[in-house]
Amino acid sequence: MNPRTRILLTALSAFVLLGGAVIFALVARDSGPPLSKGDSRGTPSLAAHDRLIFLSGRHLASVPANATTGHAVVSDLQCVRVYAAAGTGACMHQDDPWHYSLLTLDATLRQTSRHKIAGLPNRLRVSASGQMVSWTTFIGGESYNKGGFSTRTGILDLRTGTSVPNLETFAIHIAGHRSHAIDHNVWGVTFASDDNRFYASLATGDDRYLVQGDLAARTLTTLESNVECPSLSPDGTRIAFKQAVDNDPRKGWRLSVLDLKTRTITHLAETASVDDQAAWLDDSTVAYTLRAADGTPSIWSVPADGSGNPTLVRNNAESPAVI
């Protein structure tokens, strides 16, 4: 084969192969939200009532809260995590696999603000009033057989537009003493009804605490230990959270409820390990995401008093919030 033929053959192969790769990429680009049977495309309203907002194939979707396995309305908006309350939505959006943004949304899913966030999206909450948003990202560690990890948690005040980018800068008090440890990590904020107090998890060393935060005073104070990802009940009396089995997160987490007045802890009927910040469906039920071994998510609910059994809310769905 002479050199000219070889070059022509190579050029032809290059054209076909690289062209094929580009065409595949462009086709992959145009595929819209994956719709399950019976679902329809549309723009769910965040001002509606008694609806479950969730993610279906990473797209914001909505179903009636009393018929969660039924037909969903799936929007074009892509989020890695979503939450909504009082007509305000929050969406952690992937700009590209290395960069993420926090989007705030009005009731018609129109973007009202956009904030770059560092790291990989992890937790997201909107206060019951729809005025405050808090997010948590994983910054580093967490992998490569290093036990530790590092999170970053911020709070955004939609009334004033101000934000606290990192709650670790607050004055931290552990068991009554001011802590200056350098390995503080804060994650999983849940807001109280006054939009100033909040609860969150705090870790330093091997210890994980429930903290009460005060936004105006810029303080975090520990209340209990071995509490992660708190979620305050709508009546403000109890906190659903994940409790590390034998106080060792490597053994998984038991979904539990803490009564803030009596300080008693009740294990809920869900025995599978729950790695999620639960969402209250009403004052007696909590919902959470479970993942199959291959990563496929599903939303489940369980009574908040330790009775009953877990119930499937919806398959192929994650990140629940009831409006």
Binding site: L18, G19, A21, A25, L26, D96, P97, S143
Partner: protein, 424 residues
């Protein structure tokens, strides 16, 4: 489309060099042979394909499939030692049949098909692990015959330069891979499937270049004794071969693994885990800039001094990791680490080319590379244990101490054989 255009432009630049150098090959003494350039082009294109996947895999598993990062570690850590045997078998088969190009092509082909396997594996962790094992097997199979073909296409005095240029081209590919992956993700609106398909297409193109432009150079070996299992005994007893394998094992023992180096850097810098694979890009940049000059230097001043200088760079990198963080530290460590690889990786193969008998060269190279790979596996496990039980200071000081021992032992081992092998 810029990505396609750039890739095509690169390809044509290389192909035109290959073609023009063909008639002049015999006369231009200091030129690198067309075969080495062709193998370099194959490695360049293949490494674009391979590093595309390496760069997106952690993100794909953690964000795309929502798997825990621990699952990624399990997938990534497996199979390093498992491909060792396959490498030896491949090396022996290539010598026995004298079909080095075929065995190398098989390796390139297997890795190419594995890229489509990632698409087929879907969300199953087990299948993804299996596909990565197949991909590594292909890499294990092709390396020794490829390096043997480079030595057989190059006069002994120019081996340093030939390997330097090959490794430079190889790491240009490794440097471009993550960038191409980002371009595809941008073009495909973050579809990982599109990255895998593009990686497959690019790998297939490399196989086409291999088939069309690489020559097996079987003619140089005609009349040589047929290779049988017993020949391995002859190989081991040939002068300098055991010393060479011992030096390769020492090289493996001195290397704690780039993964640990990046992990230590991450520890200092609070780097997000998503940037982790991109640290390799920094190391690669130093490697690609230095591989050719250091290879040429090795031909001039001797291969041993250049290797020893590489070890000094490595020891300095380990000691630098003991300093407090900062971006300057990151740059210095990546630079020293890249220098070490540039001064040892191709240079060791150049040394091997001068020592191993031609008829058994692929087997010999496979032995050298296997010894190095297994020793490296052992040293990274030891380093991990030392880090866990005694902390970074002890682990890093120990690693630097191991490098010092390696420098002395390598000097003793390779001083004499180098003189016999390179006698001019």
């Amino acid at each position: 489309v810029t990505f396609q255009g750039t890739a095509l432009a690169f390809l044509f630049v290389y192909l035109s060099t290959i073609d023009r150098s063909l008639p002049r090959r015999e006369t231009a003494g200091r030129r690198v042979s067309a075969n080495v350039m062709a193998l370099g082009a194959v490695s360049l294109v293949t490494d674009i394909s391979a590093e595309m996947v390496v760069a997106v895999l952690p993100i794909y598993l953690v964000m795309g499939l929502s798997l825990s990062p621990a699952a990624y570690g399990a997938i990534d850590g497996l199979y390093t030692g498992a491909t060792a045997l396959l490498r030896l078998v491949g090396g022996y088969a290539a010598d026995r049949t004298q079909r080095r190009k075929f065995v190398a092509g098989l390796g390139y082909g297997i890795s190419c098909v594995a890229k489509l396997g990632l698409l087929a594996a879907g969300r199953s962790v087990g299948l993804i692990g299996a596909v990565i094992a197949v991909d590594r097997a292909g890499k294990g199979l092709r390396t020794a015959p490829r390096d043997a073909m480079i030595t057989l296409s190059t006069p002994p005095d120019d081996l340093g330069r030939a390997f330097g240029i090959h490794r430079t081209m190889d790491s240009i590919g490794a440097f471009l891979g993550p960038l191409v992956a980002m371009a595809v993700l941008w073009l495909a609106a973050d579809s990982f499937d599109a990255v895998f398909v593009a990686s497959f297409c690019i790998a297939a193109l490399a196989v086409v270049v291999l088939v069309l432009f690489v020559r097996d150079r079987r003619e140089t070996l005609s009349g040589a004794q047929p290779v049988v299992v017993r020949s391995i005994g002859t190989l081991i007893s040939a002068p300098g071969v055991l010393r060479l394998v011992a030096a390769a094992i020492l090289l493996g023992l001195a290397t704690i693994g780039e993964g640990f180096v990046y992990l230590l850097l991450q520890d200092r810098q609070d780097l997000s885990l998503v940037w982790f694979p991109l640290l390799a890009v920094g190391s690669n940049l130093a490697f690609l800039l230095l591989a050719t000059p250091l290879g040429i230097l090795a031909d001039r001043v001797g291969r041993l001094p250049v290797m020893l200088a590489g070890y000094v760079a490595l020891a300095l990198a380990y000691l630098a990791l003991l300093l407090p963080g900062g971006w300057a530290l990151l740059v210095i460590v990546l630079l020293l680490n890249g220098t070490f690889y540039a001064a040892t990786d191709g240079v060791l193969m150049a040394l091997a080319g001068g020592i191993l008998p031609t008829g058994l060269r692929t087997t010999g190279i496979a032995m050298v590379q296997t010894g190095q790979a297994l020793a490296y596996l052992g040293s990274s496990v030891l380093f991990g244990l030392a880090w866990t039980f005694w902390g970074q200071l002890v682990a890093l000081t120990g690693a630097a101490g191991m490098v010092a021992i390696t420098v002395i032992a390598t000097t003793v081992l390779l001083r004499r054989p180098r003189q016999t092998a390179d006698a001019r």
